[in-house]
C-alpha cells in the first residue's frame, strides 16, 4: 500500500516535469500528461478507499535538512476520504482535459499549464498526507502558489492578474494565520516536536486554545471562502481554465476544510468549548445565505458557480458547527453525525460543483460566451450536456433523488436531534432553529438560482446568433460529465455505503461510531424511531407511478394527435427571443426584497429615443473592508516615505539623534 501511495504522488510530479520536457509538441504532451494524471487519480482513489475500509494507517518518515525536524506523512481514514475525493475529480478531469485544451494548442503553451497543474495536484496530495506542521505548511503553500500560476494563466488582461494577485495575497495571509495557530500549539508542546500526534496530547490552557482555534478558523476560512474572507473566490475561479476551476473549487476548498477538521477535531479534539461551535455555525449560516444571494445576481456563469462554492462551504461549516456544539454539550453520537453530514456534503459538493464547472467549460468552449443573457435554447443543440447540467443543477439545489439532498437532510437531522437533546439551553436551540430555517432558505434560493441558470442557458429561444455552431463536445468531455452525473445519482441512492465509511472517520476523530444499520437501503442516522430515509424505495415508487401513468395514458388515449404550434402570443404577432425572461428579470423580485445585501446601482438613461438600462451589483464587503485596507496601506507607506527626504543633512540628524538616544538609554 505504501508503494501505491508513492506511485500516486510521484506520477503527478513526474507528469508535471515531463510536460516541461515535451513542451515542443503539444499533442503528445497533452495525452501523456492527462493519462498520467488519470492513473494517479485512480491510484489515489484506491489508496483512500483501502484505508477507509481496512482502518489501518500508513505512515512514512522522511528526514530533512534541519536539526530535529523530519517530514512525517500519514494516511489515516480522514485523509484517505479526501484522497478519494481528489481521485474522483482528477480522473474526470483527465478525461475532460484533452478535449477542452484542443483550442489552447495553437496560441498558448500547454506545457506550462500542465506543469503547474501537476504541481497543484501533488501539492494537494501532500497536504492530505502531511503529518507534521512543517511539511503541512510547505505543501499548503505549494498548492496555493501553483494554483496562483494557473489563475494567472490568461494574463493578457490586467483584471486576471489583479484577481490572481488578490488570490495569492489572501492565501498567504491565510497560511500565516495557520502557521501562527500551529506555533501556539508547538509553544505548549514540551518536546517541541511538530508532529500532529504529539500536538494532540499537549496541555494547553483554554484561552490559548481559543486564540489558536480562532486563528486557525480565520486562516482556513480565508482559503475556504467564508463570507468576510471570500472576496478572492469569485474573482479567481472564473478566470482559470474550466477544468482547473473545477479542480480548484471542487477540491481545493475541501482541502482547506480538511485542514480545519484536522486542526479542530484532530489536534484540539479534547479541549473544544461552546463558543467555537457557535461561531462556526454563525459564519456558516452567513456565508451560505450571502453566498447564494450574491450568486443570484451574477451574469457571468463561472462567477455564479464560484459564489455557489461559497454557499456550499457555508453549509459544510454549518454541519461542522453543529457537531462542535454537540461535542461540547456531551453528545458524541450527534457530533459524529454532524461531522459525517459535513464530510458527506464535502464529497457531494466536490462532485456536482465539478460537474457544473465542466459543463460551464463546455458551454464557454462551444459558444465563446460568458454572459448568461446572451445564451438560450442550447438544449436543442447539445442535449447530452443539457441533461448532465440538469442533474448537476438538481443535486446542487438539494432536491431528493440526488446526492445534494442527502447531506442537507443529514444536517437537518443533526439540527433536530441537537435541539431535542439540548432542551434546556434556550439560546442555542433558537440559534439552531434559525440556522436550520436559513439553511432551508438557502436551499430554495439555490434552487431559484439554478432554475434561472438552466432556464436562461438551455431552455427557451436563442438570444444571440453565435449560438448556431454549438454542438455536443468530444467523447472525453461527455464521458467525464456522464461519469460525474452517474456518481451524483449513485451517491443520492446508496448513502448507507458512504455513511459506513464516514463512521470510520468519526470513530477516529470523535471516538464514537454511528450505529451502522445492517441492510444497505435504510439510511437511519440514529434510530429508526426518530427518522429514516430509504432512497431506493423512494426512487422505485416514483418511477413506477410515473411509468405506470405514462403507459396508462398512452394506451387509452392512443388516438389523440400531437401537433407542434407556435407558442401563444396573445394574437399580437410572432414571438421573438427578446420577449423571453432574462436572468436579471427572473431575479428582479428577489433583488427588490433583499436589496440591503448588495450595493445595487441602477441607471436608465434616455438617449434620443432609445433607453439604456444599466445594472451594477457590487459587494458591500469589498467596498467597506478591502478597499479601505488598500488605501490605508498606501497612505502609511507615503507618510513613512517622508523619512527618505533626500537631503543628506536630515539623514545625519537621524544618525545623531539615534546616537544620543542610545547613549541616554545605556546610562
Amino acid at each position: 500500500m505504501k508503494i501505491l501511495l508513492f506511485l500516486v504522488v510521484l506520477t503527478v510530479l513526474f507528469s508535471s516535469v515531463l510536460s516541461l520536457v515535451l513542451h515542443c509538441f503539444p499533442r503528445v504532451l497533452k495525452t501523456t500528461f492527462f493519462s498520467l494524471l488519470g492513473i494517479s487519480g485512480f491510484g489515489a482513489c484506491i489508496a483512500g478507499l483501502s484505508v477507509l475500509i481496512t482502518h489501518q494507517n500508513i505512515s512514512y518518515q522522511l528526514c530533512s535538512a534541519f536539526p530535529g525536524l523530519s517530514l512525517q506523512f500519514i494516511l489515516d481514514p480522514l485523509s484517505g476520504f479526501f484522497l478519494t475525493i481528489i481521485g474522483i475529480i482528477v480522473i474526470s478531469i483527465s478525461w475532460y482535459g484533452p478535449g477542452y485544451l484542443r483550442e489552447y494548442e495553437k496560441d498558448k503553451s500547454i506545457a506550462l499549464m500542465s506543469f503547474f497543474t501537476g504541481l497543484f495536484v501533488s501539492g494537494m496530495y501532500l497536504v492530505l498526507l502531511a503529518n507534521d506542521v512543517f511539511s503541512f505548511m510547505v505543501a499548503w503553500e505549494l498548492m496555493s502558489v501553483s494554483s496562483y500560476f494557473l489563475v494567472a494563466y490568461h494574463h493578457e488582461n490586467m483584471a486576471n492578474c489583479q484577481s490572481a494577485f488578490l488570490y495569492l495575497l489572501m492565501a498567504q495571509v491565510g497560511s500565516v494565520l495557520i502557521l501562527f495557530a500551529f506555533g501556539i500549539l508547538i509553544k505548549f508542546s514540551d518536546s517541541g516536536s511538530m508532529n500532529f500526534l504529539d500536538l494532540h496530547f499537549i496541555k494547553i490552557s483554554s484561552d490559548w486554545a481559543n486564540l489558536a482555534f480562532f486563528l486557525a478558523f480565520f486562516g482556513f476560512g480565508m482559503k475556504t471562502g467564508i463570507i468576510p474572507l471570500h472576496v478572492w473566490l469569485p474573482q479567481a475561479h472564473p478566470v482559470a481554465p474550466s477544468h482547473i476551476s473545477a479542480l480548484m473549487s471542487g477540491v481545493m476548498l475541501k482541502i482547506a476544510v480538511y485542514g480545519f477538521i484536522r486542526f479542530t477535531f484532530g489536534i484540539l479534539g479534547g479541549i473544544c468549548c461552546l463558543q467555537w461551535g457557535i461561531t462556526v455555525l454563525i459564519f456558516g449560516v452567513i456565508s451560505s445565505l450571502l453566498g447564494v444571494l450574491y450568486a443570484l445576481m451574477q451574469h457571468n456563469l463561472k462567477r455564479l458557480l464560484a459564489y455557489h462554492s461559497v454557499e456550499n462551504i457555508g453549509i459544510i461549516f454549518i454541519g461542522l458547527g453543529l457537531s462542535l456544539i454537540a461535542m461540547k454539550t456531551g453528545n458524541p453520537l450527534l457530533a459524529s453525525l454532524g461531522l459525517a453530514a459535513a464530510l458527506y456534503h464535502c464529497i457531494n459538493h466536490a462532485i456536482f460543483k465539478s460537474l457544473l464547472f465542466l459543463g460551464a467549460g463546455v458551454i464557454l468552449q462551444q459558444s465563446r460566451e460568458h454572459n448568461l443573457e446572451r445564451m438560450g435554447g442550447l438544449i436543442k443543440r447539445m442535449p447530452y450536456t443539457a441533461w448532465c447540467f440538469l442533474i448537476g443543477c438538481i443535486s446542487i439545489s438539494a432536491l431528493p433523488p440526488f446526492n445534494g439532498f442527502i447531506s442537507e437532510w443529514l444536517i437537518f437531522q443533526t439540527a433536530f436531534q441537537t435541539s431535542v437533546f439540548l432542551k434546556n439551553e434556550f439560546v442555542i436551540v433558537i440559534l439552531i432553529a434559525i440556522a436550520a430555517s436559513l439553511l432551508a432558505l438557502t436551499a430554495v434560493l439555490a434552487a431559484t438560482c439554478f432554475v434561472k441558470v438552466y432556464g436562461v442557458i438551455f431552455l427557451g429561444q436563442e438570444r444571440t446568433s453565435n449560438m448556431s455552431q454549438v454542438r455536443d463536445p468530444l467523447f472525453g468531455m461527455c464521458l467525464a460529465m456522464g461519469f460525474l452525473s452517474i456518481l451524483c445519482l449513485m451517491f443520492g441512492i446508496f448513502p448507507t455505503i458512504i455513511m459506513s465509511l464516514l463512521s470510520v472517520i468519526s470513530l477516529q476523530l470523535i471516538g464514537v461510531q454511528l450505529p451502522n444499520t445492517l441492510d444497505v437501503f435504510w439510511l437511519i442516522p440514529i434510530t429508526s424511531k426518530i427518522s429514516s430515509y430509504n432512497s431506493i424505495f423512494f426512487l422505485i415508487g416514483i418511477l413506477t407511478i410515473g411509468l405506470f401513468s405514462y403507459f396508462l395514458i398512452r394506451i387509452c388515449f392512443k388516438r389523440t394527435k400531437i401537433s407542434m404550434v407556435n407558442p401563444w402570443d396573445c394574437g399580437f404577432g410572432g414571438i421573438n427571443s427578446c420577449m423571453q425572461y432574462t436572468a436579471t428579470a427572473f431575479v428582479m423580485p428577489l433583488r427588490r426584497i433583499f436589496k440591503f445585501t448588495w450595493n445595487v446601482i441602477e441607471k436608465t438613461e434616455k438617449i434620443n429615443s432609445d433607453i439604456s438600462y444599466q445594472l451594477h451589483i457590487q459587494d458591500w464587503i469589498w467596498q467597506y473592508i478591502y478597499i479601505p485596507i488598500e488605501y490605508l496601506s498606501l497612505d502609511v507607506a507615503n507618510k513613512l516615505a517622508k523619512l527618505q527626504g533626500g537631503n543628506i543633512r536630515i539623514y545625519l540628524v537621524y544618525e545623531f539623534i539615534i546616537l544620543i538616544l542610545l547613549l541616554w538609554v545605556v546610562t
Binding site: 507615503n638 516615505a641 517622508k642 537631503n647 543628506i648 545625519l652 544618525e655 545623531f656
Partner: protein, 211 residues
C-alpha cells in the same frame, strides 16, 4: 598634554561658526598643529619609535597634504568668494553648548573610573561637534573638514585613552584618511561638473516624499 586639550576643543567650536572656506581651513590647520604638539609631547614621554612615526605621518597628512589639496580645489572651483550663509550662528552655538552639557552630565559618571576624565570628554565632544558641523553646513568642502575634525577627535581619543593604537592600525587609519580625501576631491570634481555648485541642498533628486 592637559594644557593643549582645551585649545583643540576651542578650535572645533570656532570651526562651527566659520562662514568663509579659507578661515575654516585655517582653523582646521590650527587644530591639527595643536594635536601634533600633543603627539610630540607623548612621543617624548614614552620610549620606542612608534609615536615618532605616527607624529611624522600625522604632520605629513594632516598639516601639509590635506590643506594643500583643499586650497587647490577651492582655488580651482573658485569657491573662496562664496560665503556659506550660516543663517543663525547663535542657534548652532547654543546647540553646541547643550551638547557639551549633555556630555558632561550624562557621559561623565560613566567614565569616572578612567584616569584622565576630562580629556576623554573633550575627545568625545570633538567627535560630536564634528557631526554637528556636518549637519549645520551646506557646503561640500565643509563636509570634508567636518569629517577630518571627527578623525582628529578620534585620534586625540586614542592618544588620551589608550596611549596610541598598534602601529599597523595607525598606518591603516592614516592611509584610509588619505584615500578618503582624494576621493573627496574626485567627488568634488564630479559634483561640480553635474550641478556646477557644491551646495549640498541642491543634491536631493533621490527622494521619495514627492508623490
Amino acid at each position: 598634554m592637559e594644557l593643549l586639550a582645551p585649545f583643540i576643543l576651542l578650535t572645533s567650536f570656532i570651526l562651527l561658526i566659520q562662514n568663509k572656506i579659507y578661515s575654516m581651513i585655517s582653523t582646521f590647520i590650527w587644530q591639527s598643529t595643536f594635536l601634533a604638539i600633543v603627539i610630540f609631547s607623548q612621543a617624548l614621554k614614552t620610549p620606542g619609535m612608534e609615536f615618532y612615526i605616527s607624529f611624522i605621518l600625522f604632520i605629513l597628512i594632516k598639516i601639509i597634504f590635506i590643506p594643500y589639496i583643499l586650497y587647490f580645489f577651492v582655488k580651482k572651483l573658485n569657491l573662496h568668494c562664496k560665503i556659506s550663509n550660516l543663517k543663525y550662528p547663535i542657534v548652532v552655538l547654543f546647540s553646541s553648548v547643550i551638547l557639551t552639557l549633555f556630555c558632561y552630565e550624562f557621559v561623565a559618571p560613566l567614565f569616572n573610573i578612567m584616569p584622565n576624565i576630562n580629556n576623554i570628554l573633550i575627545a568625545m565632544l570633538i567627535i560630536l561637534l564634528g557631526i554637528l558641523l556636518l549637519i549645520t553646513n551646506n557646503n561640500a568642502v565643509s563636509y570634508v573638514i567636518g569629517f577630518l575634525s571627527i578623525e582628529n577627535g578620534i585620534f586625540f581619543a586614542t592618544l588620551v585613552i589608550t596611549k596610541g593604537m598598534p602601529v599597523i592600525v595607525e598606518i591603516g587609519i592614516a592611509f584610509d584618511i588619505l584615500i578618503a580625501v582624494t576621493l573627496f576631491g574626485v567627488l568634488f570634481m564630479q559634483i561640480h561638473r553635474s550641478i556646477d555648485s557644491l551646495d549640498v541642498n541642491e543634491m536631493n533628486l533621490l527622494r521619495e516624499d514627492i508623490e
